[in-house]
């Protein structure tokens, strides 16, 4: 038999090999550890490597197989988790100094379900502090880089999760998406990023940024791997009352469905966008042709309030963040700057523990929730959110999925945009609507921008959105595209030490 290039295998292939005994979980882990050792000096996707925990988990999988026990669907598959997910006995800082030293005494639902399915958790992945950012640069820790061009950002806030999958330093990863934080980095790094419908996956053990918008989901090499992870993660959770008790269909099988007469909606008005990169516009039009050639019908749709989505989002997410982050006070866990009074302790702890973007959003959130500004900002944003949600409901009466670019631009150079927060916020224009309306969304690799004197070849993503809980339709439409293209098979020229 030809030697297998282990790190090139999909999640499904790895699980199959470990289950049938053609690969041992420990050998799979060794291959990915070795790949991570080579890529990490440049990519910096991991905040923490959990070598001994991962080795123990892989040995446990091999032992279970040797004893004739049935392995879980992710038996022996090495995964990375964004540092936002709470992991028992493994540092969880959410990219923030204020959680320095916190070793959680429990697993969140995500870590627990993945471990129960046999996954081997290799470590915690870099991110923007408290998931606030679009470049993974808002953090006091080393920022993850884009494996396609090391001087470019991997996107954010799940930048480490996307970079690790693209670099092959884990088989798949978990990210979180509050306004595009799974889909945008997936697009920048040329991988698949799936944001499930709000409530499809538990939020228990995912450190809260904006609770009405946050959702966990996988970043993978292909659509079927994303479906495989969603299958493990989805379903009700007694620890999260917003997690839906809806039936969990067979998501992997859904990838093979070819819905007759699939209608792909396009909101043309949104494409008239000053900042839309011509290479992104071209890749998007080519992607539409792929769906058309595969038998789908393209439908122009209207979303009259979509132009207010970014403003609505930044009122609501900052308000929720200001409330959620009030818990970090240096008293019960994490970092404490001890002072003689309680108030001084709070203030000094938060001064040292939180960085500029987090403070900026807390102040904005405090402003919009103040009695004097509540009605004009927070209350009004909640009403506009309702209008935006109604627009999507109307649009999905005319189409099954909605297509757009994931981001108006490919990945940008490190440091290029972090001096201007508003410009950074505006780059979320295509992804935010799904969070406001609780929709399912996915970003798919759609090719590379042409290399020029100013810019290397960089991945471009195309996004699909579907109604809440319509993941089967979303995955079917996504697979339809993937099966007709080879973009997802491209690998970055990552610098290897």
């Amino acid at each position: 038999m030809e030697p297998v290039d282990i790190v090139a295998l999909t999640v499904r292939e790895l699980a199959t090999h470990v289950r049938d005994g053609s690969l041992r979980a420990t050998d799979v882990l060794a291959a990915f550890e070795s790949r991570a050792d080579a890529t990490e000096p440049a990519v910096q996707a991991y905040l923490v490597r959990a070598r001994s925990q991962a080795a123990a988990a892989a040995e446990a999988v091999d032992a279970a197989r040797a004893q004739g026990r049935t392995l879980g669907p992710l038996g022996g598959v090495p995964l990375g988790l964004k540092d936002i997910f709470v992991t028992e006995g493994l540092s969880t800082r959410c990219g923030s100094r204020i959680l320095e030293g916190w070793i959680p005494p429990y697993d969140g639902t995500h870590a627990k379900r993945l471990r129960d399915a046999g996954a081997v958790i290799m470590g915690k992945l870099a991110m923007d502090e408290f998931a606030m950012g679009s470049s993974s640069e808002n953090t006091p820790y080393p920022a993850a880089k884009n494996p396609w061009a090391i001087d470019h950002v991997p996107g954010g806030s799940s930048g480490g999760s996307a970079a690790a999958v693209a670099a092959g330093s884990c088989a798949a990863s978990l990210g979180s998406d509050t306004g595009g934080s799974i889909r945008q980095p997936a697009s920048f790094c040329g991988v698949v990023g799936l944001k499930p419908s709000y409530g499809r996956v538990s939020r228990h053990g995912m450190i809260a940024f904006a609770s009405s918008l946050d959702q966990a989901g996988p970043l993978t090499r292909d659509v079927r791997d994303a479906a495989t992870l969603l299958q493990v993660l989805a379903g009700p959770d007694p620890h999260d009352a917003t997690c839906l008790d809806a039936p969990v269909p067979d998501y992997v099988q859904a990838c093979d469905l070819r819905p007759k007469g699939l209608r792909v909606g396009v909101h043309r008005e949104a494409l008239v966008h000053d900042g839309l990169d011509p290479a992104v516009a071209r890749a998007f039009e080519q992607a539409l042709e792929v769906w058309r050639d595969a038998g789908a019908t393209l439908v122009d749709i209207e979303l009259p309030h979509a132009r207010h989505a970014v403003a609505t989002y930044y009122v609501l997410c900052t308000a929720e963040a200001a409330s959620n982050l009030a818990r970090y006070d240096g008293i019960r866990y994490g970092h404490r700057e001890a002072r003689s009074s309680l108030r001084e302790t709070y203030e000094a702890t938060r001064e040292v523990g939180l960085s500029a973007e987090v403070k900026r959003r807390i102040l904005l959130g405090t402003f919009v929730l103040r009695k004097d500004s509540y009605a004009a900002y927070y209350g009004q944003a909640q009403k506009v959110r309702r209008l935006i949600t109604q627009d999507y409901e109307a649009a999905f009466g005319r189409c099954d999925v909605l297509a757009s670019p994931t981001s108006p631009v490919p990945g940008f150079r490190c440091g290029e945009r972090n001096h201007d927060p508003l410009t950074m916020y505006l780059s979320d224009v295509f992804t935010i609507g799904a969070n406001l309306a609780g929709l399912a969304g996915i970003s798919l690799p759609a090719g590379l921008s042409p290399a020029t004197a100013e810019r290397p070849a960089l991945p471009i993503g195309v996004q699909l959105l579907a109604p809440s809980l319509a993941e089967p339709t979303l995955l079917a439409a996504a697979s339809m595209f993937e099966d007709a293209t080879t973009h997802h098979q491209l690998r970055p020229p990552v610098e290897v030490a």
Partner: protein, 97 residues
């Protein structure tokens, strides 16, 4: 464009239990102005008769049965506390004598 003064920024910081030195307050105030100006577009949207967004109540989102489960052990909880004495978290004085 709404102008946020350094003083107003300091007042927000006080509400949020953040302490900002003058330079940081000045810098954040100058950044908040353009962001708030952008957010002001929402006030032009006609929302007459529109209720605030609430996630739709779904039959599937139920509360769990009200059954007591064992909590984390005291030692596990205290293991992460910055300062502990006699199985309790030490806090600075918060009440005047």
């Amino acid at each position: 464009m709404p102008v946020v003064s350094r003083l107003e920024c300091q007042q927000l910081a006080t509400l949020a239990r953040l302490s900002l030195d003058n330079d940081e307050a000045e810098r954040l105030a100058s950044q908040l102005g353009p962001i708030l100006a952008y957010l002001e577009q929402l006030q032009a949207v006609d929302t007459t008769g529109v209720p605030e967004h609430l996630p739709p109540a779904r039959p599937g989102s139920a509360l769990r049965p009200d059954v007591a489960v064992p909590p984390l052990a005291t030692a596990q909880v205290l293991a992460n506390a910055p300062a502990v004495r006699n199985d309790q978290i030490v806090v600075p004085k918060f009440k005047e004598d």
